[in-house]
Assembly symmetry: C2
Homo-oligomer: 220 residues x 2
DNA sequence: TTTAATAGTGTAAAAAATACACACTATATT
DNA sequence: AATATAGTGTGTATTTTTTACACTATTAAA
C-alpha cells in the first residue's frame, strides 16, 4: 500500500528577544491563503533526509543544517486524494543568516515570514498541533542539545544566552542561578574580550566549546 | 508523490525478571528466515492509528492498548520497489495476557516469539536501530509514564515493581532509596493485603492509582 | 526450634536547586 | 567635571534531592 508523503519543517530562530517561527502563506487549495509550516511532497525516489534538506534549502537558503525528527503525523483525510502522511522535522537557525534569503521559490506559496512564537496566526492542517509538540520537546531538550548555540553569534554574552533560554522556556530566569549553572556545566570558554559599542558597561564574551559539550553528553 | 508505508511495532513485556521483546520470524523475502519487529503494510485508506491497532491485534490478540509513536524511519532502499517508510510504535503488555494468544496470522511470518532484551538475535532491516532508539526512550520516560504498571498485575509488591525498573534500566537499584522515591511520588495505594503462597515473609501488596498519577504529571 | 528466604526500615552526607540585593563600570549628557 | 543611565557581575544561606549504607522482622518448611 502506498501513501502520499510530505515533509513539514518547524524552523525556529531568535530575534528581538523572542523565539520566532518561519511560516509560509499557501497559494493553493486546500487551505489557500492560510499560514502553514514550510513543507512539500517528497519526490519520487528521494530519501527522507534529502527531502528535508531540500525543503529547508528552498525556504531558507541554508545548507548542511541538522534537522531533528519530531515524528509522523497521519493525514486526517484532509485531501480528497486520500491519506497523507507527513513527517515533521525541526531545526534552529540564526536569524541574520536567513533573513535576506527567504523568498517564495514555488508558486505553491505566496510568501514566507517569521512570526513570534506567542503571536502565531491560525495554522493550516494540524500544524498548530505539530508546533505545540515541537515546542514542548524543545523545552525538554534545551539542556542537552546544541540548539541554543545555533541561535547565537560565535561570540556572545551570558545575558544573550540567558535571553535565548528565556525565549524558549517562556519564563524569566534568575541571573545568578543561571550563571552558576552555566559555569558548572563547563563547556563555555571565557574569551579575553568584551562587547564593543555599547553605551554601558561592556559584557564579557564567551564561546561554546562543542568538544567539551559532547564529552559531558556522552558521560550521561 | 507516494511511498510504501509500513508500521513496525516494538512490543515489550516482562517475564522471568527480564524485559522481553516480541519478534516474528519472516517467511518472505527480503530477509526471509530473519527475525524482525512485528510489522505490516498499512492498508489503503487505513488511518495510521488503525493500522497500528490492527497489527498489534494480529500479533498479540490484544485490543485497546495505547501505542506510542517512536518516529518515522525512511527505507534504506531495501526493496526493489523503491522507498519504504516505516513508522515505529511501541507499547508494553502483560506477559500473561498475551502468552497464549500469540500465533502467526499471516503466511508472511512463520512464528512469533519473545526474546529477552539482552539476548536478541540479529534483526532484519534497520530494526536493531529502531529497538535501540525505543529502549533509550523508554529509559528516559520510565518515570513519567504508566508503562511499568502495564507490566504488573493489578496488585503487586514493591519488590516486583523494583524488578521491572531494574529490567528496563538495565541496572540494579538500592532498595531503600527506591522505596523512598516511590513513597514520595505518592501514587501507589497500600492495600490491606499481603502476598499469598510464598514460603517466606509475605510482602505487602500495592496498587497503582492512575488518577493521582495523572494529577502529578499534569502539575509538571 | 532452627533454617532459609525475602520483607521492611532510618539516618547521615553530599550535591543540586532555589531565593535573594547591591556595588561596579562604561558611556552619553549636561 | 558631575551625573544619569543601563546593564554587568557577584556570594551566601536555605531547602530539596540524591546517594550510600546494614540490620531486624516475618513466614513457611524442614
Amino acid at each position: 500500500m502506498q501513501t502520499h508523503f510530505t515533509i513539514d519543517c518547524v524552523i525556529y530562530s531568535f530575534n528581538e528577544g523572542k523565539l520566532q517561527l518561519l511560516l509560509t502563506e499557501r497559494n493553493v487549495y486546500p487551505y489557500k491563503d492560510w499560514w502553514a509550516l514550510p513543507g512539500f511532497f517528497a519526490q519520487k525516489d528521494e530519501e527522507m533526509e534529502d527531502a528535508v534538506k531540500r525543503i529547508l534549502y528552498e525556504h531558507t537558503g541554508l545548507k548542511d543544517i541538522f534537522m531533528e525528527q519530531l515524528g509522523a503525523f497521519a493525514g486526517v483525510k484532509r485531501h480528497p486524494e486520500g491519506r497523507i502522511l507527513t513527517v515533521a522535522f525541526s531545526t534552529i537557525v540564526k536569524y541574520e543568516d536567513v533573513k535576506s534569503k527567504i523568498k517564495p521559490m514555488t508558486s505553491y506559496m505566496r510568501q514566507a515570514k517569521w512570526f513570534a512564537i506567542d503571536q502565531l496566526p491560525d495554522l493550516a492542517f494540524d500544524h498548530a498541533q505539530i508546533v505545540q509538540q515541537s515546542l514542548q520537546k524543545l523545552k525538554h531538550t534545551i539542556n542537552y542539545s546544541t540548539a541554543v548555540y545555533e541561535l547565537l553569534p560565535e561570540k556572545f554574552t551570558l545575558t544573550q544566552l540567558q535571553q535565548v533560554y528565556e525565549a524558549i522556556l517562556g519564563k524569566t530566569l534568575d541571573k545568578r542561578n543561571f550563571r552558576k549553572k552555566i559555569a558548572n556545566a563547563g563547556f563555555l570558554k571565557e574569551l579575553p574580550e568584551v562587547q564593543k559599542g555599547v553605551s554601558y558597561r561592556a559584557a564579557r564574551l564567551y564561546k561554546f566549546d562543542k568538544r567539551k559539550f559532547q564529552k559531558q553528553i556522552n558521560a550521561m
